[in-house]
């Protein structure tokens, strides 16, 4: 029988190299995809997800087993990505990320897309625009949407990852969905 993630993590805490390698193989795809969904840069996503594994290696002993390993590990990945976004915003105020925390108001200022949503190509573009709108959400709202839609985490798990209450996650999701609905309406109008 395959060892559970939690059992592997306990072995990593005892410096078991094979257990670490196995956890990396299990989670490399998810860690990279999650990081990429938040930072949207393949190089950064690679570095950040690798850094998450290094943190896992260093702090496996602090995994208490109260939550699932995946939730605990996602928290490491998401925190690294949010920190990364904050740092980039600090020294790149002129970049697109400067609007990260402006949420809806920024979305409302977006120019109308030029493609026709009726045909398939247009539809593809619409979906791209929709995810581009997700990228422009405030970092924690974006993380909540990605964790829910892409990683299919339940609200209480998202709360554990983001270290906040379930009520706060619901508010993040509500605000994010409102912003995205407005984007969709704008796309339908054109």
């Amino acid at each position: 029988m395959e060892p559970s993630d939690e059992a592997l993590c306990q072995r990593v805490a005892k410096r078991d190299v094979a257990a670490f390698e196995l956890l990396v193989e299990r989670y490399q795809g998810r860690a990279y995809r999650l990081a990429w969904s938040i930072v949207r840069d393949p190089e950064d996503a690679r570095d950040l997800s690798q850094e998450a594994f290094i943190r896992l290696h260093e702090s496996a002993g602090s995994f208490g087993g109260r939550s699932k390993f995946s939730t605990w590990f996602y928290r490491i990945v998401v925190n690294l990505c949010l920190d990364h976004k904050r740092k980039r915003r600090w020294w790149k105020p002129w970049a697109g990320d400067a609007a990260d925390d402006q949420g809806e108001s920024f979305l409302e200022r977006q120019p109308a897309p030029v493609t026709d949503p009726v045909d398939e190509l247009g539809r593809e573009q619409t979906m791209k625009d929709l995810w581009a709108a997700v990228d422009r959400l405030a970092p924690r709202q974006r993380a909540a949407v990605v964790l829910q839609v892409q990683e299919e985490l339940a609200t209480y798990e998202i709360a554990e990852v983001l270290k906040c209450s379930e009520a706060t996650v619901r508010v993040h999701l509500h605000r994010a969905m409102n912003a995205l609905k407005k984007t969709m309406k704008n796309m339908e109008k054109r």
Binding site: E21, V24, E25, Q50, L130, T155, V171, H174, M177
Partner: protein
């Protein structure tokens, strides 16, 4: 009508609400056309998002893991020289010794020759060990007094004033 359950709609659509809350939201939706419309739009939006999840650029996983191993080694190496138990213990001991010397040096002023009282106190301080033999010291004092007394008696016997 009760407050609009705006923040409950996503968990409601995902079937995450406990039965009582779910019932409350469902009742509200029966009565509130605005919330019903919101819920329909939300359902459509969540569906669109799920169907259109973008995949990140492909990664060579063997190279990814090799890079990770290198980074891990580099991190270990950076810490290794001072973070190992022995150097760490030595560094701690050295810091302790320096602290002791600093405190001792500040607290222990060397008296100058121009201050005889301080010089004498310093001399006594250096021989504080004698106090551990206090009874012997006391007896020496008594002996000194006895010697003075006997000297006085000798003087009287010889016709000298005391």
């Amino acid at each position: 009508m009760a407050k609009h359950p705006e923040t409950d709609l996503v968990p409601y659509l995902r079937g995450e609400l406990p039965p009582a809350e779910r019932e409350r939201v469902a009742r509200h939706l029966d009565e509130c056309p605005d919330c019903r419309q919101d819920t329909d739009q939300l359902r459509e939006l969540l569906g669109e998002l799920s169907r259109s999840i973008a995949e990140p650029p492909a990664v060579n996983w063997a190279r990814y893991r090799a890079e990770l191993r290198e980074k891990l080694e580099a991190r270990r190496g950076r810490r290794a020289w001072w973070w190992q138990p022995v150097p760490l213990a030595l560094a701690t001991s050295l810091a302790g010794v320096l602290l002791f010397v600093a405190v001792w040096g500040v607290g222990r002023q060397v008296p100058t020759a121009g201050d005889p009282v301080a010089f004498e106190e310093a001399a006594i301080g250096r021989n504080l060990g004698l106090l551990e033999q206090y009874q012997v010291v006391e007896r020496l004092d008594l002996l000194e007094e006895d010697l003075d007394f006997m000297s006085d008696l000798d003087g009287l016997a010889a016709g000298r004033p005391g």
